[in-house]
Symmetry: C2
Subunit: 670 residues, 2 copies
């Protein structure tokens, strides 16, 4: 019976907005909500997708169970005849990393993006039916961020019409590709193309690495798993791998030749396909990572918010219905609110900027197809910066959410340790977050230097065109309520960003050598890039509020969250705002006052705001975050499932505990 | 042969200071260096203490191997006849969490602190020889921070002269104690004492929980492991446990009666031992945690610094000896330096403040024994605050160090994931870091309010006595070099702290209800408490520099680190410094300029500065941090040890991979 009681019902009854309408806003559309809801329930109700025990398994057993689940996913997709949309939701809710993640997410897109039509006709049918399983082999043991530094070579042999793929050094070993270690039969391998004695830079090659008969590596290929990674589940269900080539030969037509090719005679020829399409692929991947960031953060926030409403500590004891003293709900502490609610607001902010990025990508592709490359640098900088900003904030936010759950957040059954270990590599892969911000700052410095020549910045940099106004303007806030003005907030963010950018640009001119100047000032440039990216997030949140938003109280709550997101950032980066004189110390103090009022507005709506994410208990995978708030019985129950509890007296008692207690260690075999 | 080459020799040759003298400074004394060095080598050379494979083991196997190692530790301690000092170094370098950690670190000290002499005479000989193994059972499933809220009861039965220990609710289950789950035979249990129908608050009771004959739980006792925790090794080698009592009877004399007791007649009597000694124990534990923080952070920094010197990415290609283009060492990037070197400086700062805290504890105990309780509140606040400050910074710093290693930091073989997972609970246990800062701020508000009555603050709060000067004073820095003045820096920190504190005190007066005011302003109070704690760290670093420091260049380097620590904090908390007008925006910008010069000073000394920690490769447990810098061959070698690489074709191929590839899923059993 206990299970059917909703311990958070009272919290839910306090909500001042229409939760169902908010679910649509979060999902993006009624259609998206309905499809995702249906598939989420399908996954949650199928024992084949159970997530139990992941944390306690040995590496081998964990990997084996992931193989089984991946096969089951593929089986169910085919049996149910799921659409592409439904399939992607299914993979999303199954929420376990295995080779199929890389096959569908990187191998197939690489073929689509870099192979000729003829090549696609040959390989895509095999890949789409998983008759071959592929991976994406770019990074090497000694080479990550700097793709141009890759050492693997692909040397054309005109005698046999083949490429010779070779790993000349230990550091050229391919390292990290998911699915490579034990599963993939094929790989898109990036290597330095050499033909006719000349190097032509990094190109992609489709290389078979394992036999389709017995799964053994093909001759000349050394391949294996690179070992355990952060966490006990997380990426350990994935076989990230190492791969070395000892002069492996592949037919010439397995070079991916959409953008450039090598002829039968060994001539390197560039096609008329613009190289910029490669950036299109980068923009695609990074916008999906921004979407992932909002999801990972929202999961953590959902768990922490629900548990903060369940958990009680200290406080002037009120009496409950039975007249017993009860402690204060943790969520009522201002210290808890001031850490938790900005994260809740960030989850929404990142959701909306991610949604907008998805649109931006579609828009970009249309432009690229029409040979319009004008927006590419801005779009590229924007996605790179937002990938960096949102993943750093989400990773930190997940850990903060875990700490907000006190000691129990440290238990695997809280779901939070694995959520962190799974998400945090997003700060490093697909562009290290600091390296990306340096790229953004380089673009911004260029934008500023071009102002003089009259080039008008567009898109997310449009505000830079108003540099004269933004350098001089002053913030008009005189009392706390004045901060409840989206224009005032946006202008403060724009002023701070542009003033930091202009200061960097001016300091750069002091260096005779621009490269050295950029290097010396790089920490400042990174901070200015962050300020610019925050302008984007704030402005996209504001744009979202200007859309037609249905449902009682929905728009009001979103506005509150937008204010919290922004004012909390002002507080966090106050040094920037004050040193650029974008606001005054007095205004900063008024912003803090206003934040406190905003937290009070969110408090009764907190549980409903995380309910709007519409996550099933299966997807959340957290006892602390369970929908009904019945935390303690579930924690207790979960504990007994640990393998250590299979026997009352533990394995090893006779060999290693009893000899200690009985003072018989001299004779013990240790 | 490769193994004998020191790939970092060139880096080491650049050091501008005497590394051996710095090792003595880090160790605290020549004696400490010599003992620890000897034991570190002993541990590293004994295969019984090998740390390999921890990450890949299943929970059961990991636990079993920890049991074996704990027994081996005990065996070696006895065989070698180690002194107490040597024993503690041995446990330190073995670096694996098991029940002995709690037995020696909490159970034995609890008996020493809370048992009468007679009780100690009975129990300590058993505990000291490990004929009984104990744990410390305080926290409950529903009760962590708030000790007074514990629900477990100990009711005196005058008929039988026994206490009845009982768990009245599910949430009263003891939860978390290390060693409890599967090993401990005894526990110090904290419970609400009830005698003669009245409650007398929480007291400690010594309760046997398992049979010394067959290790089965005694009647009325339910005990087990609480399941997996963060990480794959970390605390998972420890059996943190759950414990319930169903009216378990223990003799009256197993109440720990040093401070208060219950007589044969059931009368509750307080002894003349001051209650304050309990705070003494808290101060002891927290000062050891500060020491742990500097060690954990220094390990991470050592790994990240060495690997940053090995790793190369991008950069204008110079040529190596063979005329090949080589990339820039990552440690030469200013973005890397601006993140890494402040962590290096923090490791030293925390080391010195920890050393001072150790002295403070000794001093406190002497005072308490002389019935002088005057310094207790200040010492208590100081240790609570420093525990909070250093553990938060160290935990964040370990993750930052991991990210500074790029993708490879995510591998278990980097040692960093486990270092983080093992250390981060220090932010929560022994006082949640935010709760502790609130306690500190409460003490500081009291200190300020007592100024008016003429009470002079002492010790770490002495500067508060100079409030009038510090409220008005202005910082005199006019050029970047002016920041190289320890007095100027300290005054800026003191000014910022006191101005934040005074602002809080003034804002508190605006609330009619002081409790409500404290609650509303708690986020500000936390920030003010942090500012105060930073004053302590900076001032203790400065005091260290005023000691007699031997060795060429040692003092200069430590000064440089002290400046980096302080100026980086100014940059990080710039909002505080500017809003309190402790410094101007111009001075902030000069501080940033000065920081860049300071990083350049550290750069050639970076490797030697982490060598000074004198950590063995065994203790570091990191391929990336290995002393000789021979990273890539070791990473490669390490990978092949993963169990997944035991077979070329993985377990599960025939059941779960082949049916996918061969399109035979319909018939597969999944």
């Amino acid at each position: 019976m206990e299970d059917t009681v909703d311990h958070l019902a009272h919290e839910r009854s306090k909500a001042q907005f229409n939760v169902e309408e908010m679910k649509i806003i979060w999902a993006g559309s009624l259609h998206a909500l309905q499809v995702s809801d249906r598939i989420a329930k399908l996954v949650a109700s199928d024992p084949g997708f159970g997530k139990e025990n992941r944390a306690v398994l040995s590496r081998k057993d964990l990997f084996k169970s992931a193989l089984k689940k991946a096969a089951y996913v593929w089986k169910r997709i085919n049996e149910l005849g799921l659409s592409e949309e439904e399939t992607s939701w299914l993979r999303f809710y199954v929420d376990e990393l295995a080779y199929d993640y890389v096959h569908w997410g990187m191998f197939v897109p690489a073929i689509k993006g870099s192979a000729t039509e003829e090549q696609q006709n040959k390989w895509l049918p095999l890949a789409n039916t998983m008759q071959i399983i592929g991976t994406y082999a770019q990074t090497e043991l000694g080479h990550g961020s700097n793709v141009r530094g890759l050492e693997t070579t692909a040397t054309f042999d005109p005698v046999t019409d083949e490429f010779i793929i070779h790993s000349p050094t230990l550091t050229s070993s391919k390292w990290w590709p998911g699915g490579l270690g034990k599963v993939a039969t094929h790989a898109v391998v990036y290597a330095q193309l050499i033909t006719d004695g000349k190097e032509y830079g990094v190109n992609g090659f489709l290389v078979q690495i394992r036999s389709l008969d017995d799964h053994f590596p093909l001759p000349g290929i050394t391949v294996g798993d690179i070992g355990m990674k952060f966490g006990s589940g997380a990426f350990n269900s994935m076989d990230n791998g190492v791969l070395r080539f000892d002069r492996v030969r592949i037919p010439r037509n397995q070079m991916l030749m959409r953008v450039s090719k090598v002829t039968r005679e060994g001539k390197y020829v560039e096609s008329n396909i613009p190289k910029q399409i490669i950036y299109g692929a980068m923009v695609y991947v990074r916008q999906t990572i921004v979407a992932d960031a909002s999801i990972a953060l929202s999961r953590a926030v959902c768990i922490a918010t629900r548990y903060s409403a369940v958990r009680r500590q200290f406080g002037s004891p009120q009496n409950d219905q039975n007249g017993n003293g009860i402690e204060t709900q943790v969520i009522d502490y201002k210290t808890q609110q001031s850490r938790l609610f900005p994260l809740l607001a960030s989850a929404y902010a990142f959701r909306f900027v991610g949604e907008w990025l998805k649109w931006l990508y579609t828009d970009l592709i249309q432009k690229l197809e029409g040979n319009d490359f004008s927006t590419l640098p801005e779009v590229h900088a924007c996605t790179a910066g937002l990938k960096s900003l949102t993943t750093s904030a989400a990773a930190d936010g997940i850990e903060e959410s875990r700490k907000l759950c006190g000691g129990h957040g440290y238990l695997s059954s809280s779901g939070l340790p694995e959520l962190y270990a799974t998400f945090v590599p997003a700060c490093t892969y697909e562009g290290d977050n600091v390296v990306l911000l340096l790229q953004v700052s380089r673009f911004l410095m260029k934008t500023i230097s071009q102002l003089q020549s009259g080039k008008k910045p567009t898109g997310t940099t449009a505000y830079i065109g108003h540099v004269e106004h933004l350098i001089q303007c002053g913030c008009n806030v005189k009392k706390a309520e004045d901060w409840l003005n989206l224009c005032v907030i946006l202008e403060a963010f724009e002023a701070r960003a542009i003033r930091l950018l202009v200061a960097c640009a001016e300091n750069l001119t002091k260096f005779a050598n621009p490269l050295q100047g950029f290097s010396e000032l790089s920490p400042d440039l990174v901070e200015a890039a962050v300020a610019h990216c925050q302008v984007i997030v704030v402005s996209k949140f504001i744009e979202k509020l200007q859309q037609n938003i249905q449902g009682i109280g929905v728009k009001q709550l979103l506005e509150t969250l937008c204010y919290i997101y922004s004012l909390n950032l002002i507080h966090k980066h106050l040094g920037d705002f004050l040193s650029t004189r974008s606001i005054t110390p007095k205004q900063a103090s008024l912003a803090s006052d206003q934040l406190r009022s905003l937290y009070a507005k969110v408090r009764p709506n907190a549980i409903a705001l995380v309910d709007a994410f519409n996550y099933t208990d299966h997807f959340l995978g957290s006892v602390l975050g369970s929908y009904d708030g019945n935390v303690y019985p579930k924690l207790y129950e979960e504990a007994w499932k640990d393998p250590l509890n299979e026997s009352v007296v533990p394995d090893g008692y006779h060999e290693n505990i009893r000899p200690v207690l009985k003072q018989q260690l001299q004779n013990a075999r240790l």
